[in-house]
Amino acid sequence: MSATAATSQVGRSVPRLEGRAKVTGRAEYIHNLRLPGMLHGKIFRSAVAHGRIRRIDIDAARRVPGVHAVFTSDDVRRLIPDPYYGPAFHDQPILAIDKVRHIGEPVAVVLAEDPHVAEEAARLIVAEYDELPAVTDEVEAMTSNVIVHDVLKPAGIFPDLKHLEGRKGTNIALDFRLRRGDAAKAFAEAAHVFEHTFRTQPVMHTPLEPFVSAAEPGDGTLTIYTASQSPSFVRIEIARLLGWPENRVRVKTAFLGGGFGAKLYIKLEALVAALALLARRPVKISLTMDEQFFTITKHPSTFRIKSAVAKDGRVTARECEVWWNGGAYADIGPRVTQKSGFTAAGPYDIDNVSIDSYALYTNRPPAGALRGFGIPQLVWAYESHTDVIARALGIDPVEFRRRNLLRDGRPQATGTMMKDAAIDKVLDRLVERLGWSRSFDRGHGTVKRGRGLAIGFKASIAPTTSVAILNIYADGSCALYCSTVDMGQGSDTAMAQIAAEALDIPAETVRVVHPDTDVTPYDMATLGSRSTYHMGHAVKRAAEDARAKIDALKGELGLPPGSNVPLADLFRRKYGMQAGNIVGVGSFVPGYASPDHATGLTPNATPFWMVGGTGAEVDVDTETGHVSVARLINVADVGTPINPRIVETQLSGGAIMQLGFTMQEQMEFAGGQLLNPNLADYKIPGMRDLPARIESEAIDAVEQGGPFGAKGVGESATFGVSPAIANAIDDAVGVRLMELPLTPEAVFRALRKDGR
């Protein structure tokens, strides 16, 4: 801390601290990890969507030279009698027990020193199943006779799942219900009623570093190295499974080669933990790109939305029914269902709201969080619906939105008052950038042009806890210990900036220690755009605590508090040599009130509101259905950016990812079988899929409750992309698409259906 910061540390576009390591190929990923004596595991997976396991024949695999062992759930249960895990339900077995519930479910594992040997041996495993009928559609799952889980087993962490304990004969893993005002009465009195059903498709995160975890047994201890967004959760869950205290399980991460919500909770960690303890050797499992598609996906959804509109264009009531296809294991789906349920009626001031949001089990690969926690699926529906209503009533879509917009100081559907949510400003800025009031070139010949916009908002995560430690060493340099995982979003740099601001030193001098549960303190997880706000507060408090301790030390040494004696001298005076530490600790738990079970109402639904909107200009080829996005404008309220440059890249990156989910990506199933689990057949956006122009902007805003006015950013630009483009297509050619993705085929069919 000899160097004093010349300028403010927050609000400065500090280059990423790890930039040099990344451009030289030397950044550390778990992907690179090799441990002495390590075995590689290869998973044998179910080929049926739903079935009772009759027999697993592992003899041929065992006999392959070089194979160390082949394990099934029988072996796992010798070690862990009840080997079921999950953040919401303890429903997912480490390896399939008695039944398989989706294609690609892990059934057995081969261990070998040579991964090629393990792979070859895994091909020799034979499993026979008594196939059962499968349910794959989320709406059918509500009433289907096919039951994915015989009995529901809530994990006990979330109070709103308690009523599901022991429930049988249902696929409903959560039923969130919100009732505000009197929707039935408002519908009866409405001048206009509109009802639509929108759907979204199954897609996958496809982080380019596929899932990878390793476990290393020690003397009564276990170290897990994992590409995980939630190291603290992993430790707690593995300790629970093993019946060990937390202090015997150590979880370490490195940089993640992308996460996007995929690498949360338990993915491979429980499996490698069990295998390493069974084999008494370190075990690493690195999934291939194909295998990722069977591990976690984004919820497909069906959303029936119905609005009552008065003569003056005010929405007086809205009814929402949302069905989330959670796949075979709940993962965090019930949380997605509830949290997104809060805002399913959209960023509008509506007095009478009825929301039912259902998490469903089906025989699909599990679904979890994906950059937006359900919000992009909802915004797709409510912002498409909003445009349809505006057009039907002959009201300009912007004017219609303005007439109904939810503004600060007004209660949102949950009853929570809106604050620091610049929904109006985001809309205004989009309108301005689009030049909405100016005349617009509508194209010529067979290529028609259109434009559209959409806005969305999101409640953040709570209840939740973050803890940080700031350690000042005897030479005055310092390190920040926090369990936030840098998966590309730039959290190391942002956290260093926050600590540096509080300590008045250059951010570049702060060393950020990566998550290691033996070293870095608890953090719920890196998810839901929560880190800047929640961990940011903890880091700020840790730095302030360190600063207070420095002042106390100065006092102890008889120096005035403002004295500029270098830190190294303070340590030397105190300890007589270069020795000692000053350790600052900070923690943060935001206020939150659980919604009432019967009404979904709560005075405090969220620590902060995220707001994002998108404007799009498109060219539609009426002969081929091809849509090219000429301009994509993403505007968000992220409070006051800690690092403006990184914020901008988070906005454009999020929008580009959502552009893939909007225009091209789709996991194709045929009878429970996944047809395209690879990047040849499942196309993610490349350079040539980019809009001709992409613009991103964080509006001038302050989050009063945030550290230095900041709040979350990672998901905001995903909200509006899909409906903005669908609205622009409608504007161009007058067809309304109700289902994602907006492929040329879908557009072409819609055009031809209208007899054009």
Partner: protein, 166 residues
């Protein structure tokens, strides 16, 4: 998979040899024999570009390219690009433009950009997009990558041969 053979090659300018399995890929050779992790297997199909390696000056997909085929070749990886502590202009440009997020695809993009600028020192935006269409970035850092390629082009052109020495 027991057949092995000995191959010789230069790796980032140094003569090297290795006893390899005939099924081994270039990524495995670099990772398992030389602890070089900058070329990374991701899609496993040669579609994402994360495993890009230069073999005799040509970019190849290291996850599909058999190590045996590199016998006698000149292999260059991301780790060999910086000379001592001095970054290559393409690396500098990626740093300055913040042209990465998670960094997993970055070495592939940098090597591909290097090859692009060798062939075409002043590529247009269309040419950049076309040339780099075989490299995928799931974080969506494409706008910054395009900026970085343009900056690298300016840097390479302005660097006279005399500048190469530190």
């Amino acid at each position: 998979m027991s057949a092995t053979r000995r191959i010789q090659f230069t790796l980032n300018g140094r003569p090297e040899a290795a006893e390899i399995g005939t099924h081994e890929t270039l990524v495995e050779l670099l990772r398992d024999h030389f602890a070089l992790f900058g070329a990374r297997e991701s899609c496993g199909q040669g579609l994402c570009g994360c495993c890009t390696v230069l073999v005799d000056g040509r970019a190849v997909s290291g996850c599909l390219f058999l190590a045996a085929a590199a016998d006698g070749a000149r292999i260059e990886t991301i780790e060999g690009l910086a000379v001592d502590e001095r970054l290559d202009p393409v690396q500098e440009a990626f740093l300055e433009c913040a042209a990465f997020q998670c960094g997993f695809c970055t070495p592939g993009f940098i090597l591909m950009t290097k090859q692009l600028l060798d062939e075409n020192p002043s590529p247009s935006e269309g040419e950049i997009k076309h040339y780099l269409s075989g490299n995928l970035c799931r974080c969506g850092a494409y706008p910054e990558i395009i900026e970085a390629v343009k900056l690298a082009s300016r840097k390479v052109k302005s660097r006279t041969p005399g500048d190469a020495a530190p």
